[in-house]
Symmetry: C2
Subunit: 401 residues, 2 copies
């Protein structure tokens, strides 16, 4: 099989997106989830002609006829049933959020009146008909869609859901996700590695990326470089999980037997290797009709980049999230990259005083340079066809911070 381009790999991955069922979740726990229903107005927004300033409500015709002194006939508070201004020449004190009293049509704020002896004197000359009111249904009408299905639920959506009386929301169910590391060189975080060992970190980075983006809770596994142990472990995992993310053992090495093990378990290889740096040995497949398998390279920058570039878009598609156009950033300085590979360049993002997204290259020391990711904010995708990328040219930007 020829090595795929980034675009080809992306296409195959998105073709294998899930269509997960929805689930009902309590409103307080929906933040960051993907909405699987529409939020519609259960009544008009606002539900009544609503006062927007504290002051007095009058009939504007009186003011137009020259009246400047209005006897106070009562107080219309917020949260109280609608009163009626029976005296057309009078006024009603009204509070922000209150219903406009029947018979009144205009509100003058307290700053523009003087109240003495039960009467309000208007001090300002200009009073517009229907001013300081938020009229019933002007924002939305009963039945209007306020939030579309596929929206990621943020604070504004939580507020709207509360307003329309949704104590629970239907959201996309998250795939049951397993994150698996392999490699005899890896020791647990709490352990002091021997000179030839390192602590495992990819599984934690991947779990954090999924948690941050989707509130996904993933389970972590580790297997030594032993095909039998891996096969036994994966067989179990394929029974319990929808999405299996592996890291390590997909390269050309003598101990990179993951592709063979996956084949022996019936996982269909959809591709192996993408013409990109980092992340060339990336393997992708599916157990027919069941788990989707991302087998990422073990190098920390490679695994991280593959998650940002492929796995997150795969999950957005799977969860039905409404796509938004990719971000575009401008190279702060010239970059030369000669290999015939798409180059995912770590960059630090700055917003210029002119409103431009500017990407400062932080090439680091290659796919093993984890520390470099702490200084960067994302990756710029520099196309395979070219070697020289000029300052101020713009490229797609994959943000992880």
């Amino acid at each position: 099989m020829a090595i795929l381009s980034v675009a080809e790999a992306e296409k195959i991955i998105l073709q294998h997106a899930f269509s997960p069922a929805g689930e009902e979740v309590e409103l307080a726990h929906t933040l960051g989830r993907i909405l699987q229903e529409e939020l519609t107005a259960d009544r008009d927004f606002p539900p009544f002609d609503r006062v927007t300033m504290d002051g007095i409500a009058i009939r504007h015709a009186q003011f137009a006829e020259g009246c400047r002194q209005f006897p106070i006939c009562g107080v219309q508070a917020a949260g109280k049933p609608r009163l009626t201004l029976t005296d057309p020449a009078g006024c009603m004190e009204v509070m922000t959020g209150a219903m406009l009293p029947e018979g009144a049509d205009t509100v003058i704020r307290y700053e523009d009146v003087r109240i003495e002896n039960g009467s309000a004197a208007v001090l300002c000359s200009g009073v517009n008909f229907r001013q300081n009111l938020h009229f019933q249904g002007i924002d939305r009408r009963t039945g209007d869609i306020i939030v579309q299905r596929g929206q990621k639920i943020g604070p504004a959506e939580i507020a709207t859901a509360a307003t329309v009386g949704k104590t629970r929301l239907r959201v996309a169910r998250l795939p049951r996700t397993a994150i698996v590391s392999t490699g005899d060189e890896l020791v647990p975080v709490g352990q002091t590695p021997l000179p030839h060992q390192i602590r495992g970190s990819n599984v934690f980075a991947i779990r954090a990326l999924l948690a941050e983006q989707f509130q996904a809770d993933s389970q972590i596994f580790h297997y030594p470089d032993d095909p039998k142990a891996i096969a036994k472990g994966l067989e179990q995992i394929f029974g319990d999980f929808d999405l299996v993310i592996l890291s390590g053992a997909v390269s050309e090495g003598k101990f990179d037997f993951l592709p063979q093990v996956l084949a022996s378990l019936g996982v269909e290889k959809l591709f192996h290797k993408v013409s990109q740096r980092p992340g060339k040995p990336f393997w992708f497949g599916q157990l027919p009709g069941r788990a989707v398998v991302f087998a990422l390279p073990g190098n920390p920058v490679s695994a991280f980049m593959c998650v940002c570039r492929y796995l997150l878009p795969f999950l957005r598609r799977s969860l039905g999230q409404t796509p938004r156009p990719p971000e575009i950033a401008s190279l702060a300085e010239q970059v030369v990259f000669k290999p015939a590979l798409t180059y995912f360049l770590p960059v630090r993002l700055e917003c210029t005083a002119g409103g431009m997204l500017q990407a400062q290259p932080l090439p680091g020391h290659g796919s093993g340079d984890l520390a470099n990711l702490n200084d960067a904010d994302g990756f710029l995708e520099l196309p395979l066809e070219r070697d020289v990328f000029l300052a101020r040219e713009v490229f797609p930007f994959y943000r992880y911070r």
Copy 2:
């Protein structure tokens, strides 16, 4: 007291930032928290001369002298103690992530050799001294700071913490936060409002904004428009919480007795009213030496905007988060706003093909237009001094999505 400008209000608020103690948290629960220690390299990064390609390791001098055939003396796997290439004319098979065998200095990838009868023939002509190696300490030296104190912990920081063996991290303790709504017009989400009532939503929006930004867990309270009930409730709250966010009852209305109630409880008013729309009635104070009080207007857009513009920066400062310059976006079309107020304009953000952050105005119908926030991504801050804001001019952008 004169009405403050946005800049003056911001300055006073930031002067009252906390300096919270730190707390040790298990690594898996630190995502989104603010780091209160430095992450330093516990050993060199990488910790040994690390092979970056599967292939063979040789002594380059042999290649330089014309040798193209290297008998295989062994296999250096990742995670195995370092071997020695005793035969200077031989080679060792090496795997990605393995230690470079002693006596070898250069790696040739499998794609560029042919292995037959226990010997590797080099097929390529160009082999650079020390190629395909990631040398010990090239990324970071033992003791180097990799992540600074004050960094928000993201997936890359989780990975680095794991690599340097931190099973727990010291992070800024979150303030104990109470969010309090007042207003007789508000009914619970699960209830059907009468015509003059609405469901409360501000408290949920504020809680979600704090949860999303800081993983903060806030407690919600509601009091009716009754000064005695509010005073009694707040007295209790001031004993238990560091940060108290109120919404409603701060305007000029007859039932807006919150400023008086707060004064009666000994809360020092630091300001009341800011020359801005929405959010003019915003009140800010502190119970001396204790709780900081944000009393926000009850209108949903006002409360939401005040959180984005004032409360989130206050918390970033309080938690010691390293500041980053504000985002700047370009107006997509001309906007006219005549009142002598700073105008926080809801906008939808687009990233143009040229890498520009472009803000599409979504003025909506004022501070009560909650539904408008669902279409917007943030607020553009248009200065008080001007009335006309031209297309393509740039202004500070406060993102909430």
